[in-house]
Symmetry: C2
Subunit: 404 residues, 2 copies
C-alpha cells in the first residue's frame, strides 16, 4: 500500500488548481480537470523499476494512478491487452508495420473498462456512493458493472439506438437505466438535471478527472509493450476522445519521468463522416469544435457530436504533428470484414474506422510505407453483431454437404 | 526458437503410441490421443524457470506446447486471463474463498480460443490447409477466426439454435458455414461425411490431439497465478469436457516436472439438468457415459449429449475425489444476474451453471466453508445477451427522470 504520488488537480485551460482528495467535477472556467502527480519524487523513488514482474493488469502502473489505497481498488483484471501484429491487413492497406492494441480483451469487452475501473475505485475512495452518466452504451455498461462490484449505485441514460447488448449489461448489473429517443447530448441533459438534484455524482465524460487516468494506461502499455519506445503513429477512433487525450498525457508523464525519449508519436483522430466535429475543426485550423449537425454513424461509440474535450484533442494532435480524418460507414463496415478475414480479429466498428482511416492516410501519402502504426481497437466485434450478416444454408440431420 | 519437448502421441485407453509429426486423429481403438512430452529433459533444462518474465499469453508455456517452431504460432494474444476473487458472491453461496478464472477476456470471448490457437498453430506446422468441425458455436467461431489468421480454410457446421453471435463470427472470418436443424451430434455426422471426402482435416472435439494442449494452459495458469499451488476445488462447466481433461493433464505434467506437490484439487463437472450425461454416469459409478436423451439447455455450450471424452472426464473426477453435479436452467439463469449484481462480472450461462453448482455443493455439505474454489467462467456473457432481459423506460429529449 502507498499513499501514492497524486498531488493535485489542475485546469489545463486556466491553470487553476484543486484539492484532489475531495470529489471534483469541472473547473470553475468550464474545462475538464487533469490529475497531476509528484513525478520528481516518483522518478527518484525507482518505484516503477520492477514493472515487468508485476501482474498483467493496468494496476501495474499503480504509482501513476490516483487511487491512494489498495483496499479501494475495484478490479476485474483489466489491462495489458495484447499488441498484436497485423501483417496481412497492414500489407493490404499499405503499412506492413501495423499493430493493433486490442481493447476487446478486457472486462465488458471495451476500453471503457479502464476508465470505469479507475474512476469507480477513486470514487469509492472519496466516499461517493452513487454515480450517474450519459453513454453511447459501452461506458454505461462498464460503469454499471464496476459500480456493482464496488457496491455503488449507478444511473445510466443512453440513446435508444445504442448497441442493445450494452443495455442488457447495465440491466444485469442492476443499474438504474433509461433510454432516450435522441443522442448522447440529450442523455447528458437528462443526467445533468438528475445530478443537480444532489443525490448522484456526475461521472460524464471528462466531468470528473479519473476516468481519463484509467484510459491513459493504454499509452503506458503501448510503450512498455514496444520495449520502452513509441511507434511512429497512433490511430485512435475518436468520439469523446478521452483515450487519445489519455495516451497523450501518459506519454508526457513517461517523458517527465525520464522513461521515454525522442519525439512523440503522431496522434490521429479517426472519425466517422457522419459525425466528424474534430475533423472539421482540424481542417479549419480551429482549437475548438462546433457541434456536428444531425450526427449519425453505425460506429455508435464515436457518435459524439459535441465532445467536451475537443480542445484537448486538437491540441494533442497539433503538438504531435498528427491529424484528424473521417471515413464513411461503408468504408468502416468493409474494414470489419477485411480485418476478420485477413487477421482473424473481429473488431468493433470504431476500430474498423481506424483501419479505414489508415488506408486513406496511406493513399494520401500522409503515412509512409515504413511507418510503424498502432491502431486502437476500442472494443470487441461481438458487441456489435449486426455489423456482419450471416445467412448460412440450413441442413436437416442426415443431410450431406452440397458438393463443391 | 526450439524444436520443443513434444515426443509422441499416446492412447490413454490401449497404450498405443503414434508419431506426433504427422497429422493424427483418433487411436485405432477409437480413443482420443494425448500429446506426450519429454518431461525429464524439460525439467533438467530449467527452461520454465523464467516464467514470470514472459509475456502474458499462453505461449509463456511454450515448452509444454506442441508447436515446434515459433514461426508457426498463430496468436491473437490469448491466455493469462484473470483469476478474480468473488468475495461477495462467494459469501452468498457459502464459500467466501471463491475465485473466477475469467475466460471471457480472450480473443473471440470464450476459452475455445485456447484450443483454436494451439490447434491451428500445430495444424499449420503439420501442413494442414483446411479444417472441419461441428460446434455448439464458440469453438466454431474461434477456429474460424484463428484459421483465417493462419490463411487456412475452415468448414463449420453448427446447430440452428446455437448462439447467433457465433454464427456471425464464423461468417466474418470467411468460414464455410452450415446450420443443422438438430444437435451437435447431427452436425458431427455431417462433418464426418465431409471429412471422409478427403479434403478436410477433422478437428472435432478430441478427434485431434492439440486442441486439448491449448485448453490445458488454464490449469498451468491457475497454478502460476496462485503462486505455485492448487486450490481445493476446481469447478468446470462440462460439455465436451476438454477443459477439465486438459486441466487434469496440466496438473500431472507440473507434478512430473517437480513444479507441484501435494494432492490435486478435486475436479467438479458442472452440467445442466437438461443435458447431464456425465452426472448420470458419475452417479451410477460408470466409467463411460450413455447418450443423454432429448438434450436441452439454455447453456448451449454444455449441450453435448454424448461426449467423446467421457471416460477421460470420469477418470479425472474419480482420481481427484471430485464429483459431477447438474443444475436447472432456472438456477443458472438466476446465477447470471446474481454474479453481475454482486461482482460486476457478466458471465456466460455455462459459467453461471458453475456458480449454481457451487451453491448446491455447499448446501449438500460437499464443499466446506473454508474451501478455496476456482470457478471457470468459460466465456463472456455478452455472447449470450438473451440471458438477461432489459426493458428500460424510454424518455424524450428534454424529459426529466421520474422522481424516486
Amino acid at each position: 500500500m502507498t499513499d501514492g504520488f497524486l498531488s493535485h488537480l489542475e485546469c489545463p485551460a486556466c491553470g487553476a488548481t484543486y484539492d484532489a482528495d475531495v470529489p471534483q467535477n469541472l473547473c470553475a472556467c468550464g474545462s475538464p480537470l487533469l490529475a497531476r502527480y509528484d513525478l520528481e519524487r516518483l522518478a527518484a523513488s525507482g518505484a516503477l523499476d520492477d514493472l515487468s514482474a508485476r501482474p498483467p493488469t493496468l494496476w501495474r502502473y499503480r504509482e501513476l494512478l490516483p487511487v491512494r489505497s489498495d483496499e479501494h481498488v475495484v478490479s476485474l483484471g483489466e489491462g495489458m491487452t495484447p499488441l498484436t501484429p497485423l501483417p496481412r491487413l497492414g500489407a493490404a492497406v499499405g503499412v506492413p508495420g501495423l499493430l493493433m492494441k486490442d481493447e476487446g480483451l478486457i472486462p465488458t469487452g471495451s476500453f471503457k473498462a479502464r476508465g470505469a475501473a479507475v474512476g469507480v475505485s477513486r470514487a469509492r475512495e472519496l466516499g461517493i456512493q452513487a454515480v450517474a452518466m450519459p453513454t453511447n452504451g459501452n461506458a454505461g455498461a462498464a460503469w454499471s458493472l464496476y459500480a456493482a462490484r464496488a457496491g455503488m449505485r449507478a444511473l445510466v441514460v443512453m440513446p435508444r439506438d445504442a448497441p442493445e447488448i450494452t443495455r442488457r449489461e447495465c440491466a444485469a448489473a442492476g443499474a438504474e437505466l433509461y433510454l432516450v429517443d435522441g443522442l448522447i447530448g440529450d442523455a447528458g441533459k437528462i443526467v445533468g438535471e438528475a445530478v443537480a438534484g444532489g443525490s448522484w455524482f456526475d461521472v460524464s465524460t471528462l466531468k470528473e478527472p479519473y476516468r481519463l487516468e484509467g484510459k491513459k494506461t493504454m499509452g503506458l502499455e503501448i510503450v512498455e509493450q514496444l520495449g520502452g519506445r513509441v511507434p511512429d503513429v497512433i490511430v485512435y477512433p475518436t468520439g469523446g476522445g478521452v483515450g487519445l487525450i489519455g495516451i497523450h498525457k501518459a506519454l508526457h508523464e513517461l517523458r517527465a519521468l525520464g522513461r521515454l525519449d525522442g519525439p512523440l508519436p503522431r496522434l490521429v483522430a479517426a472519425q466517422a463522416a457522419g459525425c466528424a466535429p474534430i475533423v472539421r475543426a482540424f481542417e479549419g485550423g480551429a482549437r475548438t469544435a462546433e457541434p456536428f449537425p444531425e450526427a449519425q454513424t453505425v460506429a455508435f461509440g464515436i457518435n459524439v457530436a459535441n465532445p467536451l474535450g475537443a480542445t484537448l484533442i486538437l491540441d494533442a494532435i497539433a503538438e504531435t504533428g498528427g491529424c484528424a480524418i473521417a471515413v464513411t460507414d461503408d468504408e468502416l463496415l468493409a474494414a470489419v470484414g477485411e480485418t476478420a478475414r485477413l487477421e482473424g480479429a473481429f473488431v468493433c466498428p470504431e476500430g474498423a474506422a481506424g483501419v479505414a482511416a489508415i488506408r486513406r492516410l496511406r493513399a494520401d501519402g500522409w503515412l509512409e510505407p515504413d511507418d510503424e502504426v498502432v491502431l486502437l481497437n476500442t472494443g470487441a466485434g461481438i458487441k456489435y453483431p449486426q455489423t456482419v450478416s450471416a445467412d448460412p444454408p440450413v441442413l436437416a440431420p442426415g443431410d450431406r454437404l452440397p458438393a463443391g
